[in-house]
């Protein structure tokens, strides 16, 4: 097995894709947003419960590849308790990491598993889809339309 592929499919990613965390509908969600990748059919629905400016809880459901599922699972684990500004900052650092491979020193260990994605440009969208959905949902005026990678 090429080590290149092992960088993409890290153990933590395979684990979260097989056993996604926070994988359920969220009762009392204050925001629900759908994300689609029309090229491959990946689909994710993210449920967010806000407590003032803070994300009290976030969960998801959907279907997709190992990368998109693990990305959504690890995203929910990392966003709980964050303020909107913190969540947006984390997204920006995450996006930089999966597109360039550059890792912010403060990046959570588990999210670093996605640094290898930058070597697979066709798969960046998979890693980013659930994040885009959340960042859109965190806007002051969340969009009614689903978020698309295109």
């Amino acid at each position: 097995m090429s080590s290149h592929l092992d960088e993409l499919y890290q153990e933590v990613i395979l684990d979260h894709s097989r056993n996604p965390r926070n994988y359920h509908k969220l009762e009392g969600a204050t925001r629900v947003i759908e994300g689609n990748n029309p090229l491959c059919g990946d689909q994710v629905t993210v449920y967010i419960k806000m407590d003032g400016d803070r994300i009290a809880d976030v969960t998801f459901q959907g279907s997709g590849c190992a990368i998109s599922k693990a990305a959504a699972s690890l995203m929910t684990a990392n966003l709980k308790g964050k303020t909107r500004a913190e969540a947006r900052h984390l997204f920006e650092e995450y996006l930089r990491m999966v597109t360039t491979g550059k890792v912010d020193p403060d990046m959570s260990q588990k999210l670093i598993a996605f640094a290898g994605v930058h070597q697979f440009p066709a798969r960046v969208k998979c890693a980013v889809l659930p994040w885009r959905a959340v960042v859109n949902a965190l806007g002051d005026d969340p969009p009614a339309a689903p978020v698309s990678t295109e």
Partner: protein, 423 residues
């Protein structure tokens, strides 16, 4: 060794596979340290040297604009372009070269028919009959024209995973409200070869014109518009060893006569005034602007190339590979294979339990295998089958049985990889 394998071996020998492969520069390369195994032919085929050289020759010696010029190069370009039209007519046994319109590809051909014919001929309450297995390119153009005219779409059902049209329902589907029946000859997702001649005959008996999407068939089997009995037939150059950006729409003379222009501009006009214009007869009426001359010339070379090999032999080879692949793939645990067990075209679409199609394709790529993963521009059908994506391996005459063996081997490695550490 199975009967299928014997057939495939015989077909390969007939084709002199190794010499044929030598004609395709792109096949001879390493991808991620492995020899390329190109199994994405339903998306686009590779190009033989003869096609590349014909286009190069045109640009180096004959490049000019067609139809308008009087000088030598323009004459040569016009001869080349119109020669390609005659060649395309022979390729599908159209009676007249004038019944061939050059397009950008199958998609544009269908859009042309939908807009130039459908918009004029369809009205509120009319039905455009399609099938549930259409590529988006033979669905969305009809949705657009339905919205413009008030017509509505109906669909011949697909039976399920075996992917056949439910012909018992055909009679009821071909109701008196149907104004056009458009269907694919070969499904790009299921590998089903539809009984196109029978479908055209049933429609014709009821006075319903037909459009055949031949994107997956024209380069893979003998296609004869007269024996099919269709009114329109569309295909692309790039899937049949030709360049991208060129395709063919065949139409019967009586259908052309019912049509408005598709686009306006140069090339298609007789005389132009500030307020109004008149235009040429078909096919030029449908070819506004400078056409893809080099593309038509490349397509000419591709059609020559395919007919030298023989599309009958190509089909035998494709089918043998498709059936062999289906048989070998069925040994993998947790695999769900779409499409008919027998009589399929040279493509196999499948779903692996526990590994998503995208992950399969990414990993296979690192073994030099070019596959396709996704919904294959067939979202409604995938939804009906309860799938979000499949992996597709699609073959052409230059593929070997040993490449199918390698595919199965690599899929086994991928399954093991994704199951590592799993309970």
């Amino acid at each position: 060794m199975t009967a299928n394998m014997c057939n495939a071996s015989a077909a390969s020998q007939d084709l002199d596979l190794e010499s044929v492969r030598g004609d395709f520069p792109a096949l001879d390369q390493q991808v991620h340290g492995h020899p390329l195994i190109y199994l994405d032919n339903a998306a686009t085929s590779q190009k033989p040297r003869a096609v590349l050289e014909a286009m190069q020759r045109y640009y180096e010696r004959d490049n000019s604009n067609v139809h308008r010029g009087i000088h030598e190069l323009s004459n040569r370009a016009t001869t080349g372009y119109e020669g390609a039209r005659e060649r395309a007519a022979r390729f599908i046994n159209a009676g007249r070269a004038e019944d061939i319109v050059f397009t950008r590809g199958t998609t544009e051909g269908i859009n042309l028919a939908a807009q130039a014919w459908g918009r004029r001929r369809l009205g509120a309450g009319d039905v455009i009959l399609l099938t549930e297995m259409e590529h988006h390119s033979n669905l969305v153009p009809w949705q657009l024209v339905a919205r413009q005219t008030g017509a509505r779409l109906e669909f011949v059902p697909v039976t399920g995973d075996e992917g056949l049209l439910d012909l018992d329902r055909l009679d009821a589907c071909l109701s008196s409200r149907v104004r056009l029946f458009a269907f694919t000859h070969v499904s790009n997702t299921l590998g089903t070869v539809n009984p196109a001649a029978e479908l055209c005959r049933e429609a014709r008996r009821r006075g319903i014109p037909t459009l055949v999407d031949a994107a997956q068939s024209a380069g893979h089997m003998p296609v004869d518009v007269q024996s099919l009995g269709c009114d329109f037939l569309a295909f692309s150059g790039h899937k049949i060893c030709g360049p991208t950006g060129i395709g063919v729409l065949f139409g019967r003379p009586e259908r052309w006569a019912e049509m408005d222009p598709y686009q306006g501009g140069g090339e298609m006009i007789l005389s132009v005034g500030y307020e109004a214009s008149t235009w040429k007869e078909p096919p030029h009426m449908f070819e506004a602007g400078t056409p893809n001359i080099a593309g038509a010339i490349g397509l000419h070379a591709a059609m020559d190339y395919l007919d030298r090999l023989g599309r009958g032999r190509i089909f035998e080879h494709d089918q043998a590979l498709g059936e062999y692949a289906r048989e070998r793939l069925s040994t993998l645990p947790g695999i769900r294979i779409l499409g008919p067990p027998r009589g399929r075209a040279g493509l196999v679409s499948f779903h692996l339990r526990d590994v998503h199609a995208h992950d399969v394709v990414t990993m296979a790529d690192h073994y030099g295998l070019a596959l396709r993963g996704g919904h294959h521009c067939n979202q409604p059908l995938m939804r009906k089958l309860g799938l979000d994506s499949t992996v597709r391996a699609s073959f052409y005459f230059y593929n070997r049985l040993s490449e199918v063996d390698r595919l199965v081997e690599v899929l086994g490695i991928i399954q093991q990889y994704f199951n590592r550490g799993a309970a």
